[in-house]
Symmetry: C2
Subunit: 368 residues, 2 copies
């Protein structure tokens, strides 16, 4: 697929924002950078992983850090390309294609900028099917692949090559680096073969994001309900087969701090009428939504807070008192609900003290 119009890029940004589950970085700056790359290059090539040679070198990339920092500290624009070139030096090979390490948020667009400059395609797949706060929360780790060598670059021109014995230590090291470098950095990690990209990535997530964004855009233009369009589009992707509007209300309280390289906090939403109260906890991404003490959705299922009129996604760093919002949950891709995956991205991995229950069972009988 050739992306050769700005509307498709904007659809991708809109869909990726939803899939970010509140995180993945604000898509606004990524969209600006992608549009600039688009203006220079005239377009981007998106290919299916199945089109890759089995021994091709595929480079997943994205930003690591607190989204609260990313909206204030701008990139220098060269981070991704510098890191990819270094990966080529380290491996002695040419990169055949790039891939978002996570489709969610700004990270869904991040590889397009580098792809245009390197003249390589973007693979229609990613390692999370959404966004997660920690770098080991990726299908490649669940499938036993190594994050290393990874290359971390920052706006100040710093670069670090990281090699660790395990992926959790890699996350600790990369996180410490991102904090030392001002709270946000770019990372190329989990260098894949084409065969691994076919087997261990979540397929079709980039085109899914585009379809979600397009559905919302078309609904707005036709003055149809964008939330209905969103639910239909999610189901049509096949990746996100269930969708629920969990709550409709006004933000009445917000706690948020930037701590340990993350944006951590809690938002309280009061329902309209006698709708009760919903609490959503987040660590970069929304992790669990509880209504009057009852869990309505939890990781790895997606929980996204959206403007109740426009269906614009409100990422965790953009939450504010008084916003009128809907809380939307979507079923995570099947690969994230496998037992090996739940050990890495299930509620227990976040210390939440719940066993994972899918949204379609938690909210049985309540339609989209």
């Amino acid at each position: 697929m050739r992306i050769d119009d700005r509307a498709t890029l904007a659809d991708l940004a809109c869909g990726a924002a939803f899939l970010g589950s509140g995180g993945g970085g604000d898509p606004y700056y990524s969209l600006l950078l992608a549009e600039a790359a688009f203006a220079r290059s005239g377009g981007f090539d998106l290919i299916a992983a199945s089109d890759l040679d089995d021994d091709a070198l595929v480079a997943p990339c994205g930003w690591i850090g607190a989204p609260t920092v990313s909206v204030e500290k701008l990139p220098n624009g060269r981070e991704t390309v510098t890191a990819l070139r270094r990966l080529e030096q380290l491996t002695g090979r040419k990169i055949a294609a790039v891939m978002p390490v996570e489709i969610g948020g700004g990270n869904g667009l991040a590889p397009f900028i580098a792809a245009a400059e390197l003249g390589v395609p973007v693979v229609d797949a990613d390692g999370m099917g959404r966004a997660f706060p920690e770098s080991q929360m990726v299908t490649f780790n669940m499938r036993g692949l190594s994050a290393c060598p990874s290359v971390l670059t920052a706006a100040c021109g710093s670069l670090a090559v990281i090699e660790t014995q395990d992926n959790l230590t890699h996350e600790r090291v990369a996180r410490g680096l991102s904090v030392a470098l001002g709270g946000i950095a770019h990372m190329v990690e989990y260098p894949l073969t084409g065969a691994q990209a076919k087997r261990d990535a979540i397929q079709g997530s980039v085109t899914s994001a585009i379809a979600i964004g397009a559905a919302i855009r078309h609904a707005r233009a036709a003055r149809r309900d964008p939330f209905t369009a969103l639910a239909d589009a999610l189901k049509a992707t096949g990746l996100y087969p269930h969708c629920q509007t969990l709550f409709d209300g006004k933000i009445v309280d917000l706690e948020r701090e930037t701590k340990g390289g993350f944006s951590i906090g809690k938002v309280i939403i009061d329902g309209f009428g006698d709708g009760g109260r919903m609490e959503v906890l987040f660590q970069n991404e929304n992790l669990v939504a509880r209504q009057d003490g009852k869990v309505r959705a939890m990781v790895p299922d997606l929980i996204t807070i959206m403007d109740r009129e426009t269906a614009d996604t409100i990422t965790t760093e953009r939450l504010k008192y008084g916003q009128r919002v809907k809380v939307i949950a979507a079923a995570a891709p099947a690969m994230l609900r496998e037992p090996a995956a739940l050990a890495v991205v299930g509620p227990a991995a976040f210390g939440l003290g719940h066993d994972f229950t899918p949204i379609e069972r938690l909210n049985q009988g309540e339609g989209a």
Copy 2:
């Protein structure tokens, strides 16, 4: 010079401990590792920088982190060699010699272990002439050389290559990494040419440390006062031309915390009889000694707290309530008192709010 007996190694550990000014890492474990390397290799070659080819590759190495951690978290013993081999890969060249990045504390012995394994000599020079808490506080930085590429290794087997645009950012990145890796890591940094080692390092500091240790050992054996022997030995080195016993008393209070990758605190010493009270502030190393409000010594001059009977150096992480101690100050090597050096390692660089005044002026008329 060939170091072919264990007594000389012990002298080096003793002298380096004094020159550490309270820091540089506990020399005990470094001595054990050096003795093991000695047992395997039969000895170490120590050469003058002037013996190096101008284009030789010289690798300064040492440990970065909080000394409080280093006494509890042991190295795996391969950190230095792994990092040096990686530096050879990165530069495509063989390392001709290694050098302590700082002569003070355990770091004065660190390169000997790797030297034995690589079959290269140690250069009789270092980058600090003592120990300092931060990696940019080194003569190589004062003379405009770059710390990069540096290689950081940790006991868990992790490795990171760091490249930054400036040496202060390098320190921030390396410090963040050392914290993420458990509080202590090994670093090979400021790769030098032979010409730079001749011009920009402090010459003769390794043999000075050996001479200081030997003087204390001989004094103890002959039941002479070790502090007199220390003062004479310091003057004889030519590097440390002045020495003062600032204070003699008992530790009555101690504040110490491990924060931001450093061991930070303050020790209070009450004088015997009507000797007043001395306060010594430290950040890994002792930074300033004040007696009843009057500054008696400050960085970059050396301030070392020693057991008042044995003249054993008590590093900042070994300070305890009740210890009977002498506080000894020594003039820093001339290279550290130049204006460009004072900007990096003078009291203002530590936020101390004093202009640098040498100990020989602060304590005029008070003999050693």
